[in-house]
């Protein structure tokens, strides 16, 4: 093993970091939309949809993300040919974003649902008592507080997703791991390359954690955690 090779590989690999981050951002964005919608469907027990939402969440929880990735990668184009759309040449990044988005959506939905239920009941009553309708109550009073309650779990989930993106290469996405694999094929220095990759992932996770904990403090200022005046 040649540890100095890490200095060689580091710039080569980190130049693909933006692909990893792109997948993550897309997944979180899709996941947030799905998560809020599904959480509301489940809270209001919307007939039929509630049942479907339950199955969706339990399926995403009960199957490995790698299998989900392949299901989407092979399944979605197959479905689309039924309506005469040819998706066989679509950018694999698209399938990755959809898969991770769906996966994030399932975990966010449960996190958000728990958080909405965790908001004090008196908050909704106060909203109604000043004449708000149900939607105003939800959007202006409950959701903002629920998102703060959800934040720590949300942050954990995002970090988990970041690590999950390392599987994207399996359907041919050229991210850091994809690039790493091609380097391994040409240089035969697998250990050094994986070491480098682990350092990059670790570094990113540390940064994310730092960022999350700062935003958490900011978000929770009204919980008194930062209240200097108290």
């Amino acid at each position: 093993m040649d540890i100095t090779l890490i200095f060689d590989f580091f710039p080569k690999l980190i130049s693909y970091l933006h692909i990893t981050l792109l997948i993550l951002v897309a997944a979180v964005a899709i996941g947030l939309v799905i998560g809020v919608v599904i959480a509301l469907i489940r809270i209001y027990k919307v007939p039929v949809l509630n049942r479907l939402a339950f199955i969706y969440i339990s399926f995403m929880r009960g199957t490995p993300i790698l299998i989900q990735l392949f299901l989407i990668y092979f399944g979605l184009p197959a479905l689309l040919t039924l309506v005469h759309i040819d998706a066989s040449r679509a950018n694999p990044l698209l399938f990755v974003a959809i898969t991770y988005g769906l996966s994030c959506g399932a975990s966010f939905a449960e996190i958000i649902r728990g958080a909405i239920n965790g908001v004090e009941k008196g908050q909704a009553e106060a909203a109604y008592s000043i004449g708000m309708n149900e939607k105003q109550m939800m959007v202006r009073v409950i959701l903002p507080q629920a998102l703060v309650i959800a934040f720590p779990n949300f942050a954990n989930s995002v970090i988990g997703s970041l690590k999950d993106t390392s599987l994207a290469f399996t359907i041919g996405v050229m991210d850091m791991v994809g690039r790493g694999n091609t380097l391994i094929a040409t240089s035969l220095h697998a250990l050094e390359i994986y070491l480098t990759l682990s350092m990059i992932y670790y570094g990113v996770v540390i940064c994310l954690e730092k960022g999350f904990s700062l935003s958490e403090k900011k978000l929770q200022r009204f919980e008194g955690s930062l209240s200097a005046e108290k």
């Binding site: 004090e120 008592s129 000043i130 309708n133």
Partner: protein, 257 residues
Amino acid sequence: MIQLRNIQKSFGNQPVLKGIDLTVKKGEVVSILGPSGSGKTTLLRCINFLERPTEGEVMIDDITVSSQKGSKKEILTLRKKTAMVFQQYNLFRHKTVIENVMEGLIVVQKNSKETARKLAMEVLEKVGLTEKANAYPVQLSGGQQQRVGIARALALNPEVILLDEPTSALDPELVGEVLEVIKRIAEEGITMIIVTHEVSFAKDVSDYIVFMDQGEIVEEGTPTVIFNNPKEERTKRFFKRINREAGILESNLSSVI
């Protein structure tokens, strides 16, 4: 004018309100007294339909909402004519003091932000909290939080403010400041229905007293009549107990001192 007609409420098959009739005139302050579990909170919550009555109707001014037929829209109209002050304050935790007061002005009454801010400041002035305008509820004492709760209700200029034991979650030394604020707005002619255990305060501030027990109005009348000449046995017993408890409290205090 507010009129409750034959308000009944059951939880499951347990009747909690057994047909309450009550009329409150504009500008009147009505206090509801009664032992724990007599249905005072439930009655208050039936007035703004936080709890839908099983039977009866609520009339405020020109709108009448009936227990069963009352639509969402009617209930919303009714709620816009009322405001509530909660035992546990229930301030919006994610909003500052002034934002709490502005919220209804903007979202429900559709005022501009500037107008809302101006109105909110005026009301905060009344409850003596202008210097806390930008604090969050957690940064306030219970007494201050409740004064914000009162300001939030007052700002909407409702036909009636419903107060459910506004001081009973407070440390004893903070009760005074809140009662004082309520008294001040009572003198401004705001219509209020107050559920309270503060008997001497009720005597002081109310135009009318309602004594409830077991889901019924046992006795009602002016404070002079109810406190000096109660007719019903249950009312007499209630005041006797209250006086005894107050006495015990005082003798405890004096023995400590």
